[in-house]
Amino acid sequence: MRNHPIRLLIALTLAVIFAFPIWFMVSSAFKAEAEIQAIPMHLLPWDFQGLAQFRLAADIAPVWVYFANSWLYAITHVVITVFFGALAGFGFAKYRFPGRSLLFLAVLSTIMVPFQVLVVPLFIEMKALGWENSYAGLLVPGMMNAFGVFMMRQYAADLPDELLEAARIDGAPELRIFLQIALPLLLPALASLAIIVFIWAWGAFLWPLVIVQDKGLNVLSVGLASYTQPYLGQPMWGAAMAASTIATIPIAVLFVFFQRYFVKGLTAAAVKG
């Protein structure tokens, strides 16, 4: 490793500027309320609160309910998008059926549409189905993502045709070919897609905001706002930071353990596109 003092200095500055707010968030979750806005800023809590702020966060709002709902939302999105995305991607890549290009184009076009265009009509659609303010209304729209189909098609196209043909000659039904041959081969891509979808779904804000009225259905993203706008009381910064930390931990864990898949999948998909 050659010594690049200037490069190191710049990198250090960048790292400090960008990492500092995250450090502030986590350290504030353990500080006493008055210490959070102390000037000059305390890097570490002088008055360590233990888990008090986390308990307070749970008192102010049902943060663990939100946490559970966020998990439910993220997992359903991951499972559905990954499985049906792989299924559809496989279908588009390896089968020449009439209307294939048209259907694929139609699916692809949905990626281009910003969600704001859909949010009002989807809300009305949910109302018509009777799904407003329910788990069905929260989870179903957006459960499948066209990006998943797109990405899986790219990877499925690379699957060796000979393998599939061989299985067919052996008399295997098509579904079995997908489940037992294609899926295992696609596993790394599936893992990357799963992580990408998880991160998107975990951070989803617009749709839950619009569709949910009951606190019991809320996800973390929307619930966090209640820490900054309470009625007749100071915003509780410590509790807000504790809740924010709770909301960040799953992604952080994912990143630590699956960094390779995450980075590789995201950039590969992006570059391929």
């Binding site: 010594n3 502030f24 704001q116 966090l224 980075v263």
Partner: protein, 285 residues
């Protein structure tokens, strides 16, 4: 080759889903943009009135301006700074992986967390004020309450959260450049700047377009910061009201669904224009 129909069967769940929850709403939304609909009573057809009235609508004009400013501030600096960061982290040096991981932290929290976190940091008498104005003895900077500063704060927070993410994409693009090219340039005696200009940049073209497209599309749709950061969503005196947030306001606060749909159609048109423009520019140059 009769098994080809299985392909259709395989894609049907996804296609069916998108038809029901993407394509149909899109068309329905388009229809709504030609109506006056308050959700409580049946829609009334008004033709192009919603669009025509938008032009006279002061709030819409303000949101349009704010959106353009925000998108500009959220794409150009992000594009440039993330590229610079990628160049810094591209070569190995001591502690590089640690520093890169630290630099990457802003990507981890969901956008709602970013907003709440910065709301605390940008308190007028808070941490960021002391770190910046504190040097000159300024004790109160109204980052989120001043109509001139608030839009800038939005851009700054958004850029902070996005630059590390796009750096990753640049790094992937840089990694894809065959090392022989760089070695050939080194043999020819080219310095780092020359190498970058003549070797890296041309190879990075598709990455550059990707970063530009992704960051601008994302910027158009951002509203969470403008919703959570200021005291009232859309910022002091609507200085941070952007089109994405205006759709929410017209649709779910005023219950003017037709107007909300019209605004979202305008947004879509703008995104399409910008994206197509970028693709065309790529093809030409």
């Amino acid at each position: 080759m009769h098994y080809k129909w299985w392909g259709l069967i395989f894609v049907l769940p996804a296609v069916g889903f998108f038809a029901a929850f993407n394509l149909f709403p899109m068309l329905f939304g388009l229809y709504l943009s030609f109506t006056d609909y308050d959700l409580l009573n049946p829609p009334i057809w008004v033709g192009l009135d919603n669009f025509v009235n938008l032009w006279d609508d002061r709030l819409f004009r303000q949101a349009l301006g704010n959106t353009l400013v925000f998108v500009a501030g959220a794409t150009v600096p992000v594009w440039g700074l993330s590229l610079l960061a990628a160049l810094v982290f591209d070569q190995a040096f001591r502690a590089r992986d640690w520093l890169k991981a630290a630099f990457f932290l802003p990507v981890l929290p969901p956008i709602a967390v970013v907003a709440v976190l910065w709301r605390v940091l940008l308190h007028p008498n808070g941490v960021i004020t002391s770190l910046t104005g504190g040097w000159w003895g300024v004790t109160e900077i109204r980052w989120l309450a001043d109509t001139a500063l608030a839009p800038f704060s939005m851009i700054a927070v958004h850029d902070w959260a996005m630059i590390p993410f796009f750096m990753m994409i640049w790094l992937a693009g840089l990694a894809a450049i065959p090392p022989e090219f760089r070695e050939a340039a080194a043999i020819d005696g080219a310095g780092p700047v020359r190498t970058f200009w003549h070797v890296d940049l041309p190879q990075l073209r598709s990455t550059a377009v990707l970063v530009a497209a992704l960051s601008s599309i994302g910027a158009f749709q951002t509203f969470a910061l403008q919703y959570v950061l200021p005291n009232d969503a859309g910022g002091p005196a609507n200085s941070t009201m952007v089109l994405a947030l205006l759709v929410l306001k017209y649709g779910f606060q005023y219950f003017r669904m037709g107007d909300a749909a019209a605004i979202s159609v305008v947004m879509f048109a703008m995104i399409m224009l910008v994206t197509l423009g970028q693709l065309w520019f790529n093809r030409r140059a």
